[in-house]
Every structure is written in C-alpha cells, then in structure tokens.
Subunit: 204 residues, 2 copies
DNA sequence: CCTACCGATCGGTAGG
DNA sequence: CCTACCGATCGGTAGG
C-alpha cells in the first residue's frame, strides 16, 4: 500500500478511536460531528475525507468488536477442556474485553440500538447466535438434570450483564486491581453454577 | 384539589409515562418532543401546558424511581432478619422493580448520564450512598474473614448489573416466567455468596 | 483540509 | 390546545 494511503487509513483509525470514546461517554445521538472534529483538531467537514458518515463509524466499532467475541467463541469449540473450564474462559474473556477495550465494548453493548437497518438486524442476529451458543455451553456444564427451568439462560444473562456492569467500577476510583476483579467475578459466578445446593447434578 | 387541576395533573402523569416508555425505547437524546406529542395525540407546543421541559421529565422519572429504591433500603434497616435474608430481599426488590416498573427503572439505570447539573451530581450522590449501604450489608453477610479483597464490592456490582441485564429477557420471547426468573436470580447470586469454597467464613 | 452553506430538525415561546 | 414561528444545531455537501 502506498504511503499516502497508509497515512490516510491511520488517520481514519484515529478518528474512529476518538469517536468510540465519545460515543461511550455521551452516547451516540448526543455526540456531534463538530464535537468529534474539535477533539481531533479539524473542521467538521474535513472528517468526511476519512469516513463516510457518522453511522458508518458506529457500525465499524460495533461489528469489529462483535466479531472478536464470536471468534473467541469459535476457538472455544476446538478446545477439549471440560465445560466448567469453558465457562470460566468465557467470563475471563469478557472481563478482559471490558477492561482492555473499554470504549469499543461499551459502545457495542450499549449503543447498538442506534444502528440503522439492515445493520440493526445483522447485529441482533449475530448476538442471538452468540448467546444461544453460550447458553448451550453452560447447559452442558450443568448436566442433564438441572433443578430450575431456564437456569442456563439466567446464568448466561447474568454473566454478560455482570461484565457490562463493570462500567461502574471502571468509572470509579478503582480500589480493586483488574486481576483481582477478574478473579472475583469468576469465583462469584462459577461458584453459583457449581453449588451443589442449587445444582446437585453438576458434573465437575 | 379542584377538578380542573386534578385532570391536568392526571394528563401530566400520562405524558410522563409515555415519555418514560420512549426514553427507554430510543434513549433520551433520540426522543423528540414532536414524537412524544404525536404518541399522545397533541401538537408539540401543547405539551408545555403540562410539563416545563424535556429535561424536567427525565428528572422526575429518575428521582421518583431512585427514591423508591432508597426507601426500600431504609426499610431493610428496621428489619431484624439476618444479613443473607436482607441480601435476598434486595435482589427480589430490584428484580420486581425491573419487571413491574420496566420503563422507569430502565431510564434510571441507563439514561441518568443525560441529567444536567445540578441534578446529575444530585443523582450520583444518591447512588453512591445507596451502593455503599448495599455493599456494607453484603459485607456483613460475608463475615469478618472474607477470602478475596473487594468481594463485597464485586457482589454488589454483580447483583445490580444482573438485574439491569434482565432487559434482554424482557425484550425477548420470555419463555421463562417472572417468578421463576426471580427465583433463579436469587439462587444463582445467593449461592455464589454462600458457597463455602469461596467464602469459608460465611455466617449463615 | 478549509470556507461557506444546505435542508432538516431540534427544544421551546408568543399570542390567541 | 393550536398556528405560527424563533434561534440553535444537526449531519452532510460543493467547490476550491
């Protein structure tokens, strides 16, 4: 790729990165292209030399991040570890995404409603696929004779929600170290799934 | 109160209820007063005979709901049940708020960022008070010799986040009944807190 | 990459 | 409760 094109592409990445931070901070509809341009040091009109539109940026942020999650899920399939280990891997992956890729992950989980069709359906379709697969991994971990109906669904929702809730920890003074937080989440959520009082049939 | 005033106040409540539903569905900044007016069957200008401004509606929705949560927390103090029962009561209260008062609860937890000062600080102050009190209840439930640092904080975050995550269940086909969902959440989150492998010192 | 500008839409007001 | 309208701001384009 010629130098000029590589530079332009690098600038596009910078713009999208700043956009992700602002979408996270103020929400997509409340972020104006003029705010974004100022943050970067351009006039608003100049942004359009690098990006197509505001909505295109939202799409890029969300689908890139979603595809990373899907890729991790597929890679889990190829491992031959037991199901509890797979659930732990899922928790750790999402916690790390939330910590290391805070803006992108937050925008994906909170701003996807502002996608326009057909991208909105495209996203919800991918998400439906992801959560179903995740639920089936949890279900396999619980064994055949689960006591409560819909518990694998509840657990899947709770894990994803718990990670999303780390937003408040991220915003706060952060008295707890990232590694400790990750371990705490695993302990709390896995122990709930491996507690014999709730799930007497769990295969350890 | 004279009849005319009572009627006007009832219409205000109707407007705020519709506003809550729209703020939840599309987000506060993406909801226009013209959309809201159309939903109710008025011209946009006529809304201002009943409400002061768009932001005033957001404030009313959020602070009313927040005060209900605070009131429940204070009432917990007066009970002399043990700490695990208090945690269970907290979980059940929030799950029910999420189910029965979906729009208001969702707007409070997701749209508070769009409050203007001084209301924004007012809200974050109340929330800080709430979560600290909630954390101290959980900490008391864990006993003095908790194994992991910051576990009561993690548990508090996880409980609140898990309830917020019920949004996806609410949007979905709802194969699981509300009562079952509530029981599942309690089982999953409480068992995590009462698991001797994680918390050997828990006072039951 | 900027100046200049477009049509559309926003929250809200005046006046009846 | 409506008509008519305000200034501000939005995403985006033309033309250089």
């Amino acid at each position: 790729m010629p130098l000029a094109k590589r530079k332009k592409s690098a600038k596009k990445e910078l713009i999208i990165k700043k956009a992700s931070a602002m979408f996270r901070e103020k929400g997509y509809p409340a972020t104006s292209m003029r705010d974004l341009a100022e943050e970067i040091g351009l006039e608003a009109a100049s942004l359009y030399n690098h990006i197509q539109s505001k909505s295109e940026m939202l799409q890029e942020i969300i689908f890139r991040t979603a595809d990373e999650c899907l890729q991790h899920l597929e890679s889990l399939d190829e491992e031959d570890t037991n199901c509890v280990a797979k659930i732990e891997s899922l928790i750790r992956f999402h916690v790390r995404m939330m910590l290391n890729r805070f803006d992108d992950y937050y925008v994906m989980t909170n701003e996807w409603i502002h996608l326009k069709e057909p991208h909105l359906s495209h996203f919800t379709g991918k998400r439906r696929y992801y959560v179903q697969k995740m639920e089936s991994i949890i279900e396999a971990g619980l064994g055949n004779k689960t006591t409560n109906p819909g518990m694998s669904y509840t657990a899947m929702l709770t894990i994803l929600a718990a990670v999303r809730g780390l937003e408040f920890w991220h915003r706060s003074a952060k008295k707890i170290a990232p590694g400790t937080m990750e371990d705490n989440m695993v302990a709390l959520l896995i122990s709930g799934l491996t507690d014999d009082k709730v799930f007497p049939s769990l295969k350890k």
